[in-house]
């Protein structure tokens, strides 16, 4: 700056009456507090730059470059002096370069850059972009640091400290205590330890009961309707023929036993086979197997139909329509054995259906066929001798007749064989389990 320039500047300032000596310095000085704040306006850098440019020779490119270089080095000094973050220092340098570029462009275009209120047209917009880019860089650095901390924790097998607010930290303390209490009461054990299977089966049974209860209580009432319809059908056939007693058994009770037991058998077969093939969501819980799903369904339906039996017999007896069982224990035992037959058939059907999906469409036909030969509508003793073998091949016929023998005082089946029934049941169970073993690895959790 030559002396002439200084005098010219002094005269210009003298013209402003409010001028106090030294007040011009404020317009020149860089304010580090504003400079290193990413939210500040570009004016914090632009104004001092323009003031300096006005106060210095600025006619040539070289002169202006000297001013720019001076402010650049002053900025670097401010960064070093205040120990500013590298990110924000970088942001300030970029901002300075942007201002210089736009200002230089306007000066070369002949714009009146020293007029009060002047600001390069694109400065605000470009500065916003610069700010956004800076924000992204800060974000990325934060992510990088978080990732580094995470990987450091993994490599050293230590817990990464997650940043939490005050409330969340309090919640975490409570949750941590709860989790530790749960783990403390839960000794490490192998999944295949004995007893785990039965416990899971029972849990599954309770779960299915809850599903049924939550789904529709009307479903339980509906369970009564099926047997009532079938027993009415069977009884009315006999009543039309004028029969009141069949070999010492009253027709209504006879029909009730046949209808309810068979409907239970049928439900167990269908429900357990479907559960075997389709309850694949639950298989995602370790310890739950398709066999267990089928068994839980069987258990559920034998419980439901024992209750149905209870309701129908008590209600029927109150109305004087149905006789009470001679041996309750024997009757319940045979109902449960028939249910076991149903479960075995269900698992067998399920195992077959795992390999051949279409098979479940065929099972109702097989069930209808079995119903004809299972002493549902009549007992073998009602048939002429030459036709009895047509019925007695079926172990279910033996089961049903044994059930009626246990129920009625006046009827003891001559044809039914307990040993045949039990051997057939064991045989069925073994075949079902063998088929299940073959099919098991093909039932995939869903």
């Amino acid at each position: 700056m030559s002396n002439e320039d200084r005098i010219r500047g002094w005269r210009a300032r003298r013209q402003d009456r409010n001028y106090a000596v030294g007040a011009g310095v404020g317009a020149w000085r860089l304010d580090p507090a504003a400079l290193f704040d990413a939210d500040s306006t570009p004016a914090v850098l632009f104004k001092p730059l323009l003031a300096r440019l006005q106060g210095e020779p600025h006619d040539s490119v070289a002169a202006r470059r000297a001013v720019y270089d001076a402010i650049q080095s002053e900025l670097d000094e401010a960064v070093a002096r205040h120990g500013a973050d590298e990110e924000i220092a970088d942001f300030s340098r970029r901002r300075l370069r942007l201002i210089v570029r736009l200002l230089e462009h306007d000066i070369r275009a002949g714009a009146a850059v020293f007029e009060p209120g002047y600001m390069p047209a694109k400065l605000a917009e470009e500065d916003r972009r610069l700010g956004a880019a800076h924000e992204r860089r800060v974000q990325r650095r934060r992510l990088d640091e978080a990732q580094h901390a995470r990987r450091h924790a993994s490599r050293n097998d230590i817990a990464l400290q997650i940043e939490l607010s005050g409330d969340e930290a309090a919640d975490l303390a409570v949750l941590r205590d709860r989790m530790r209490a749960l783990h403390a009461g839960h000794p490490p054990r192998h999944d295949d330890e004995g007893g785990a299977g039965l416990r899971t089966l029972f849990a599954l049974f309770v779960y299915q009961l809850r599903v049924m209860h939550g789904e529709s209580r009307f479903a339980l009432v509906w369970a009564l309707v099926g047997p009532v319809v079938l027993l009415t059908l069977i009884s009315s056939l006999y009543f039309i023929l004028g029969t009141r007693y069949i070999m010492g058994m009253d027709v209504l009770t006879f029909s009730l036993l046949g209808a309810t037991t068979w409907i239970m058998f049928r439900q167990i077969v269908f429900r357990s086979s479907t559960a075997y093939v389709s309850a694949r969501g639950l298989l995602n819980l370790p310890g739950v197997t398709p066999l267990m799903c089928a068994a839980a369904q069987s258990l559920l339906y034998v419980s439901v139909y024992l209750a149905v039996f209870g309701v129908l017999i008590v209600a029927g007896n109150a109305l004087d329509l149905v006789t009470l069982p001679d041996s309750v224990a024997g009757f319940v035992l045979y109902v449960v054995l028939m249910a076991a037959c149903g479960a075995a058939v269900g698992v067998l059907f399920g195992a077959i259906a795992t390999g051949w999906r279409f098979f479940l469409r065929v099972t109702p036909i097989i069930e209808r066929f079995l119903q004809l030969f299972s002493s549902v509508f009549l007992v073998s003793e009602q048939l002429p001798g030459q036709f009895r073998p047509w019925v007695l091949w079926s172990p279910f016929a033996h089961g049903m007749q044994l059930l009626r023998s246990a129920y009625f005082d006046g009827y003891a089946s001559q044809d039914a064989s307990l040993s045949y029934f039990l051997v057939a049941l064991v045989f069925l169970a073994v075949v079902a389990l063998a088929a299940e073993r073959l099919a098991r690895s093909h039932v995939q959790p869903m």
Binding site: Q147, R150, R151, A153, S154, R155, D157, I158, A159, L160, Q161, I162, E163, L164, E168, D171, L172, V174, L175, R176, R178, M179, A181, L182, H183, G185, H186, P188, R189, H190, D191, D192, R199, T200, F202, A203, L204, V206, Y207, R210, V211, G214, E215, G281, L282, L283, N284, L285, P286, G287, V288, R440, S441, H442, V443, Q444, P445, M446
Partner: protein
Amino acid sequence: MIHLNGVTDEPYAFGVRQPLLADVDLDIPAGRYALLSPTPELHRQVIDVLCGLRPPRQGFVRHDGSVSWAIGRQGFIRGKANGLSMIQLVCERYELDAQATVELVADLVSDPQSLARPMEHWPLYVRQEFSFALALAPAFDVYVIEGTIPFEPCRFTRLWLALFEERLVGRTLVFSSYRQNQLADYCLKGLVYERSALRIEDDLDRCIGKFPPRRSRDEPGGAGEESFGSDFTEVGI
């Protein structure tokens, strides 16, 4: 922790019998493993076998310690039962105090009211949160995670991660995800499934380079969308 002994498996997948594993003998000791392979579609089946959810056709899988379910999978979190019934079932299965477990899960998830509603009506995020929250209740020694570890910035993520981080120390993680960053963040070794065989590789970065994780193509909204996306960019839309 997980031992595979002569495991051969050929399940049906995508309509055909897949030779999934062929006479695999492998001991997976404690550690943090990223499941990587050129065929992420079959990870699900591999995880079924590892978790013991499905026995292989031949051979057997033995667990030392308790192995979790495939956390992050929709799995058993569906159907007409409500969340409380499912917590009861899990508690019975793992001999846990049901009340304490309900409190843990309800205090952790974003929407505790949904626990009393049937699971079939839950939105996806509720199912995910439930699966992750419930997995903290049993004292698992091996955590198998299929999918994405929670990352959305919310209260559930922060609290769950804080608890999980503490629990995972000294335990085993088997992690299958298409998110490469998460695999690199949480895992140290690669559990590589390739050509019907499983092996452990120590250099995870090399494994990830060789088998870059990608979305399984059988997942809805997976590669199909991506290929559409690339088609549009190619034609300049």
